[in-house]
């Protein structure tokens, strides 16, 4: 297996149901198989209610599948306890949400360093340098000590991207990352994604409604009624 072909994520027959055992039991995902390798830049599209967010939550280890197995960096995750899952999630997955989701009480820099601080406590010089470097990369070197409410929407989203990348994750998950931004800012954010994808070799999986965004990705997965459809 070549360096670039390294598997990051593999889903085997993943099913997810809600309200199990009740009259309202519904299966949202009907057996998903997919594979993401290093440096992939993938869009996940699909109509509302097709299960995109559910799938993303499963991949992000925020939720567990009803059946099937999800391998992250080769490790089966279904039977993991909370601490192990959390550690794996913290180390290998970065999240960017539609709404920036920064912690208001912390500065931009502290928000960026949060995943590292959660895992290792007080940040060392190396972490601080890395945080500064990332904030510079996203063009916010002047806003390091600003609180989120002092930043514009686009700036906040860029802080969130820097935060998602601070742990050098193998996989970055973005849920409608540009859904809340104007076209110009959205394009900037997308360009950033591209650059980090190339620079760090981090695999990107973008959930989006925006056809312009999905068209710019290397590959597109379409989810319809809980099934992946070949494009």
């Amino acid at each position: 297996m070549s360096e670039d072909n390294q598997e990051v994520l593999r889903l085997e027959n993943i099913k997810k149901s809600y309200n199990i055992g009740q009259a309202t039991e519904t299966e949202v995902l009907h057996g998903i198989d997919m594979r993401v390798v290093k440096s992939d830049f993938t869009a996940l599209i699909g109509p509302s209610g097709s299960g995109k967010s559910t799938l993303l939550n499963l991949i992000g280890l925020l939720d567990s599948p009803t059946s099937g197995e999800l391998f992250l960096l080769g490790k089966p995750t279904r039977e993991m306890d909370d601490a192990t899952r959390t550690a794996l999630r913290g180390n290998s997955i970065g999240f960017v949400f539609q709404f920036h989701h920064l912690i208001q009480a912390f500065t931009a820099m502290e928000n960026v360093l949060m995943p590292l601080m959660l895992a290792h406590g007080k940040p060392n010089k190396e972490s601080l340098d890395r945080g500064k470097e990332l904030l510079t990369e996203v063009g916010l070197e002047k806003f390091i000590d600003k609180k989120p409410n002092e930043l514009s929407g686009g700036q906040q989203q860029r802080v969130a991207i820097a935060r998602a990348l601070i742990t050098r994750p193998a996989l970055l998950l973005a849920d409608e990352p540009t859904g809340n931004l104007d076209t110009k800012t959205a394009a900037d954010v997308f360009a950033l994604f591209r650059r980090f994808n190339e620079k760090f070799g981090c695999a990107f999986l973008l959930v989006t409604h925006d056809p312009r965004l999905s068209d710019s990705c290397d590959q597109t997965l379409t989810l319809v009624d809980g099934m992946l459809v070949e494009q």
């Binding site: 925020l62 949400f97 989701h101 920064l102 208001q104 912390f106 995943p115």
Partner: protein, 400 residues
């Protein structure tokens, strides 16, 4: 712990007005507890000091004399009509040995043999009934430091000297240096020289006590070489009953602690302590509920942030800790302010209040209150913290 601490502190600082309000609430509660505890402790110490300042912690006397009943012959019934015996003034048997035993006990601070009995004091035409108290002055001073309460003359007994109370002196028109005739109802009487006048502030003592040398009292009361009472003080006044029981077992004598002779006072003290504890417990409870409710609201307000933190790798354990720390900080900071306010209240009472008595504040009171408040904060935070830790990150992130 560093990051949990940091998040907790930042959360508290962000919710400034909420934090300020609950801190005031905690501070008020803690200051009430501190003040009322200091007040009641001070009051009790004052009452005990006043009561025990003029009496021994334990009094040891001969056991009461009982009629010895001849047992009925086997096969016969016996009807008994018994008159209680009159208790004559008697000396404690082998009191010197008893003294040696008592001196050796670790919990005993001072032991003083006393011979005491009734007498008449006469000066000219006036007659007063008095209590003769024959003492070994140095030993007795360790029980009741009378020399501190002298209003005239010196505390000096022996060589025909006596010391009497202020009221008795007034009634008989006596001054230091005057003579007083004492008659205990046995053959003969003594004339003593008034060497000093004391005022203990207890009517009974000030109007009746006549302190004499042990020997002189013994001869007046016709008990040569005897003592009727042994006074004892112990280290911890609140274990006087235990010490009294032990002494009773060791010596076979009647041994009574101040607690038995002042049952009413003990009842009052106990119920005071109980009501103080009740007030403290209920105030602490309401403080705890206050902390719990503020943190519960905070968990709801921060649901989304909790979700994000969880998504970024915060473990349930860490999330729990973040909120427990907040509870602890509420308790600590609130009790720090409350402790100071309590001190201020006590100071005001001592310096500007009615001046009935002085409230001492034990050095340990505020630290103890702070420790308890901090622990209460942690306990109160337990429920909201558990809820925060168990929030499903998927749901929490989408929470608006």
């Amino acid at each position: 712990m560093w990051i949990e601490w940091n998040i907790a502190v930042k959360f508290l600082r962000e919710g400034r007005s909420q934090t300020a309000l609950i801190l005031v609430g905690i501070a008020v509660g803690v200051s009430v507890i501190v003040f009322i505890t200091a007040l009641i402790t001070g009051l009790q110490a004052n009452i005990i000091e006043r009561t025990l300042g003029t009496q021994a912690h334990i009094k040891i006397q001969s056991p009461d004399e009982l009629n010895r009943i001849v047992p009925a012959a086997i096969g016969t019934a016996q009807l008994i009509l018994e008159d209680k015996r009159a208790q004559r003034l008697r000396s404690i048997n082998n009191w010197q040995q008893v003294l040696t035993i008592l001196d050796a006990l670790s919990e005993v601070v001072a032991v003083s043999p006393v011979v005491s009995g009734p007498a008449f004091a006469r000066r000219g035409e006036s007659l007063e009934s008095v209590a003769l108290v024959g003492i070994d002055a140095p030993r007795y001073q360790k029980i009741i430091p009378i020399s501190e309460d002298m209003v005239a003359g010196q505390f000096r007994v022996g060589a025909g000297n006596a010391v009497i109370g202020q009221l008795l002196a007034d009634n008989l028109g006596l001054r230091v240096g005057d003579k007083l005739r004492l008659d205990a109802g046995f053959d003969g009487f003594s004339v003593v020289n008034i060497a000093g006048i004391f005022e203990l502030g207890v009517r009974e003592l000030d109007s009746r006590y006549v302190y004499l040398d042990l020997k002189q009292a013994q001869s007046l009361l016709n008990l040569p070489g005897g003592v009727t009472v042994i006074d004892v003080t112990v280290q911890d006044i609140f274990t006087a009953d235990v010490a009294a029981a032990r002494i009773g077992r060791l010596t076979g004598l009647k041994s009574e602690s101040w607690m038995e002779t002042n049952t009413q006072l003990m009842n009052a003290l106990t119920s005071q302590s109980l009501s103080t504890s009740m007030i403290s417990v209920f105030v602490a409870l309401s403080v705890a509920f206050g902390i719990a409710s503020v943190l519960s609201v905070s968990v709801v307000q921060r649901t989304r942030e909790i979700g994000i933190l969880r998504a970024m790798g915060t473990t349930q354990q860490q999330m729990l800790l973040v909120f427990l720390i907040q509870g602890a900080l509420y308790g600590l900071a609130g009790s720090l302010v409350g402790g100071m306010a309590g001190y201020a209240l006590v100071w005001t009472f001592n310096n500007l209040g009615p001046g009935l008595f002085y409230i001492p504040v034990a050095n340990t009171l505020v630290p103890i209150a702070m420790t308890i408040a901090t622990l209460t904060g942690v306990l109160a935070a337990a429920v909201p913290a558990r809820r925060a830790a168990r929030l499903d990150p998927v749901v929490a992130i989408r929470y608006v």
